[in-house]
């Protein structure tokens, strides 16, 4: 959907995608998560892991994280979103901050991770799509209930 720059309609659509990504992951909606990542490459900067397309989405959401009755028991709060739509109107970048909360039987509700996303979007067949996401980890808490394999990243994050 192409709109004049003054109306920020493109930005609303892109902001909804950013929110939907968190929703789909936290509610275990594999179909929607896979669809949102169909044209995307998602990279975890801290570990170098990369997940590409719908199949990558499946790996990211189900095999690289711990699930409890099929759900990650996380809440990804995404905020401080700033979007830049290119003058051509068919590409955009965005940066946002995120904080992950988790509660499990062995983990009282707490923040486990905080970081930021650097995203790129493009119009594909006249619909905005995520094309890449770099996920940066800035403050690290207890990841053992969330990640299938906790990377040796003690040097990453804390007071970095």
């Amino acid at each position: 959907m192409i709109n004049p720059a003054g109306s920020l309609v493109n930005e609303q659509v892109i902001a909804a995608i950013v929110a939907d990504l968190a929703d789909a992951f936290d509610s275990g909606d594999a179909r929607q998560f896979g669809e949102l990542l169909r044209y995307a490459r998602w990279r975890l900067i801290a570990t170098g892991a990369e997940f590409v397309g719908t199949r990558g989405a499946e790996a990211l959401a189900s095999r690289s994280v711990r699930l409890y009755d099929g759900l990650p028991r996380t809440q990804h709060d995404v905020s401080n979103l700033l979007i830049e739509v290119a003058p051509s109107g068919d590409k955009a970048t965005a940066r946002s901050e995120f904080a992950v909360l988790q509660a499990t039987e062995d983990l009282p509700l707490q923040f486990i991770l905080a970081g930021h996303y650097e995203d790129a979007f493009a119009l594909v067949e006249e619909r905005w799509r995520l094309t890449s996401r770099d996920e940066h980890w800035d403050l690290i808490g207890r990841l053992d209930q969330h990640l299938a394999v906790v990377p040796g990243c003690e040097t990453v994050g804390k007071g970095r």
Partner: protein
Amino acid sequence: MNREEVAEARRQVRGIISAYFNALDTGDMRALGEVFRYGRTRAQSSRSGAQVIAEPDEPYEGSERIIQQFVTHNYFYDGTPSTKHFTTNLTMEIHHETNRATSRSRFTVVQARPGFPLQPIVTGRYVDSFEWRAGRWWLVDRFEDCFLWGDVRHHLVDELRRRLQLPEFERRAPRAEIPDVPDHS
């Protein structure tokens, strides 16, 4: 609805949601009641959406009932619940056919008290519906799903916590599913 009307709807929805949380956290009953003048609220609690652990309340409808619910369900300290309801991931859609708007958002409630360090106590999701009446948008329905639970003993009254069967009264250990082969893409 034209583009400008949609943008104005966004601004009003944003304002209503902001007014709601500011009213809750400052204990402003009048402002809280005003948000729900034409509205009702239904809540459920679930563990991570997997299982509804308490039947949804009867809906609370209208200003007086909402205020009564708020006052009877929560603890107050010098007139406020000593919380901050922090909301994120707010999106809105307009349904042109029915002249309604719906919004989705996440909330994280944090609380601090003497002897209770600042911490998140419950998180969840809202789905809200709005209608245009008498020249502006009004909240008409709020569905609240409490998703991840922490220590709400300083926030929700005993009787409510008992009814919600929260972990401190009844623990059930979910079995964690750890994959055999970790992903190393």
